[in-house]
Amino acid sequence: MITIRKSEDRGHADRGWLQSHHTFTFGSYHDPAFMGFRALRVLNEDTIAAGKGFGPHAHRDMEIVTYVLEGALAHRDSMNERHTLGPNEVQTMSAGDGVVHSEFNASETEPVHLTQIWIEPAVEDLPPSYQQVSFAPEEKRGRLRLLAAPHGASAPGATLIHQDARVFVTELAAGQEVEYQLDPGRHAWAQVVRGAIALNGQRLSQGDGAAVSEERSLVISGDSTSGDEVLLFDLP
């Protein structure tokens, strides 16, 4: 069963310097029908104006995965981590029992466009941690590139999350396909972050998402000419 969440049905916040689209309940956007999907709690598409960002704020017990589409995001936190995140990188911050961080557009001239993902951890009160991994663009072209996975997963080059979930990205040319097999009892979420795709024949445009349950095989095919990019979540 595939249930599509259309882009235009998402929550939207306009703070001037921030344009944010919320697939699930977040901040002042609340929809009891969309509180998350399985362990996936937050899926936001943010565009942050040049030089602007989120001042120091705290998180607890959440796996926060950030994926930049265009631009660069400056991060610093209470673990003394200071990094800049760009395209073809993934950042995972495990908030654990408490972390304070800020996120700002690293550019004074260009906006940054990103997707931020919150996944509920399987265990609370862990020590906080920060990871950032870069990869070559070729690693996601025409195949699923693993961005985040739990301990024990065969996942070199992926960030660690404390949940039995996996996050992939793929970039597809028009007509190009990737296939993914879901184990019995597993669920998936697909989120189109660029272009358009077909998921088992159902068309999804940029910003659209799809909840997948009781399916074993997922076929994702590129459906535009501009380089389609999709995040795929394999969820318990």
Partner: protein, 177 residues
Amino acid sequence: MPALVVVITFYSRSGATETLASSCAVGAVQGRALIRLRRLADANPDQAMADHPEHRETLRQMFREYVAPAEADMLGADAIVIVPPPGADPTAAGWQEYLALLARLGSEGKLAGKAGAVVNTGDPQTLAAFSRAITAIGLAMVPAGPLAMDGATAQSAIDHGRRVAGVARALKQAAET
């Protein structure tokens, strides 16, 4: 019970006191509180950068990332924590205005039942002076724990933040029963 809110106000130029304030915030989060981190504003940010060129980039970053404490922050807080840099003077400009705001709110009964704390940043005289000011305002003082005996460390600030959250929660629960 509504969420517990801890407001932490600091002043920092080099980033050292900011680190302790952030650590205190982490402790409060460990104590399951929401936090608001506020930096006392410089009267003249450009002058501050000109006077301390060695901290120019750190100052620029803090000017960008933090807002100054406001009355609404204090009214919404269950605990008010001050993190003064070593050598700070409660009667100096900036701190004096901030403490006067707290004193006025205290005299109006608007800080009743709230906890207060001053984080040790390495100078006993600074700690003592600000602790006296907080006590005079009428906040329920939360002293640092034994870890602070080892000096001003991130871990002692975390521990202090956690203790503040615990005391503030107990005060809030007592007020609601």
